[in-house]
Structure formats: structure tokens, C-alpha cells
Symmetry: C2
Subunit: 134 residues, 2 copies
């Protein structure tokens, strides 16, 4: 069953526009973790300003997450259908998604350390292929 993009937008009180359908649809169907510029290259009919505006909105409602800390210094974006974290190959710059970890203990630790209600988290792991000649 494919993801219902219009429903996703409506669920978050976002108007269903051609641009949002195209952009969110693109993120949903691609495993890449593109920058705004990369999305614009794939969807040139959407202006770059709208790419940024739309990404901001999608991040705001939690449908998309920003990945920072990549070697290129740019923001990368990722559809956030299910909670997950990121693993970056620092040699190839590939970004992988993973969800094989229960974050609850971490969130609990954060709460205990600060007394804050933890509302969100970003986890990036950095690694290299062990087979790469050193």
C-alpha cells in the first residue's frame, strides 16, 4: 500500500499544493538524503524558494528531518515516516537509515539529566568500512 501523500499533508493542516505533493512524494519514494539543491535539480519546476519553504514546513510538522553534520556542510533532508537514526560513512558520505535501537532509555536519560520533556532527538553515527585499506 503506497503512502497517501495528500492525506499526510492534510493530517498536518498543510494545504495540498502541486509543489508539496511533488516534493514530499519525491522524498517518500527516494532513499537518497538530498539537499535542497539536489531536490531542485530533480524537480526543477519547483522554485528553489519553494523548496526551502516547503522543507521548512515539513520539518516543522515532523514529516521530514534535517540531517546536519555531513562533510559537505549542507543540510540534507529525509522523510520521517518512522522514527529512525542516521549512520554516515565518512569515507563515501553515504547516509543510511536505521531503526534497530530503542531510544526510550536515551530519552529517559535526557529527562533525568535536565528535567526537560524530551520532544525530539537527532542521532548521527559516523563510521568507516572496516574492509577499507587503512
Amino acid at each position: 500500500m503506497a503512502i497517501d501523500i495528500p492525506a499526510l499533508l492534510q493530517k498536518h493542516s498543510l494545504k495540498v499544493t502541486q509543489q508539496r505533493l511533488a516534493l514530499l512524494g519525491y522524498l517518500v519514494t527516494h532513499e537518497t538524503h538530498p539537499t535542497a539543491e539536489m531536490i531542485h535539480a530533480e524537480l526543477p519546476e519547483i522554485s528553489l524558494a519553494t523548496i526551502y519553504n516547503t522543507l521548512d514546513k515539513l520539518v516543522e510538522v515532523g514529516l521530514v528531518v534535517i540531517i546536519e553534520g555531513t562533510a559537505d556542510g549542507k543540510r540534507h533532508y529525509d522523510f520521517y515516516g518512522e522514527p529512525h537514526y542516521h549512520i554516515i560513512n565518512t569515507k563515501t558520505q553515504e547516509i543510511f537509515d536505521a531503526n534497530n535501537f530503542d531510544v526510550q532509555p536515551l530519552l529517559q536519560a535526557g529527562r533525568e539529566a535536565t528535567g526537560l520533556d524530551i520532544t525530539d532527538y537527532h542521532i548521527e553515527l559516523y563510521g568507516v568500512d572496516p574492509d577499507d585499506a587503512k
Copy 2:
């Protein structure tokens, strides 16, 4: 026992310069998580170019970590004397350090998910004061 800054630099094969002593000394002794600009305001005798150069070097050798994902969109820097993670109050933008969490299971999960040797990690939790009127 105070931290021996020259030894820290030497341990990582970095020349011990006045600028590095001042900058690393500043980070070691302050709980703030400043941007390059903020450091420059505190240490105006060091040029901004050198602030950036030095921070880059310190990050490279692992003495300092970059905190990304703050609301101001700028990079914040933190002395990385002991492994820790960050918790950001999204209302006040305060950044807290915490180390009350064993990251080994997470690193192991990352390895299992990708086959990569995990060499580093960044964890940021985001939260709000539960007492804040909603």
C-alpha cells in the same frame, strides 16, 4: 587538578601557539557552547580566521565537537573532554551536556545495521521545560 592545555595540544601533534592556548583554554573553562563569533567576541585578540582554523583543527583531533541543529542555524562548539551528548531546550536555546547514558548498545546497533566501524557519534535531544505554561 586543572587541565594541562599545552599537553592536550601536544598529545595531538598540534603546535602550542598563543592563540590555541587561549581558545582551547576558553572552551575548557566555560560551560557555554559558543559559536565562532561568540568566541571571537570574548577573545578579540585572535582573528576570526584563526578562530575558525583553530576550531577546525581541534574538531579534527577530537578535542572539540560541533553542535549543529540549534535554532540559530550556527555551529556551536564544545570541549570534548569526556564523551557526552547534548540536550537543547528549544524554548530557551540553552544547551546542556549529559553523560548518563551508555552509548555502546547504540554504536553496536549502528554497526549491525551497516557493517561499518562506528568511529564517532552525535546525539542531540530536544526538550522543553514541563513547567512552562503551554
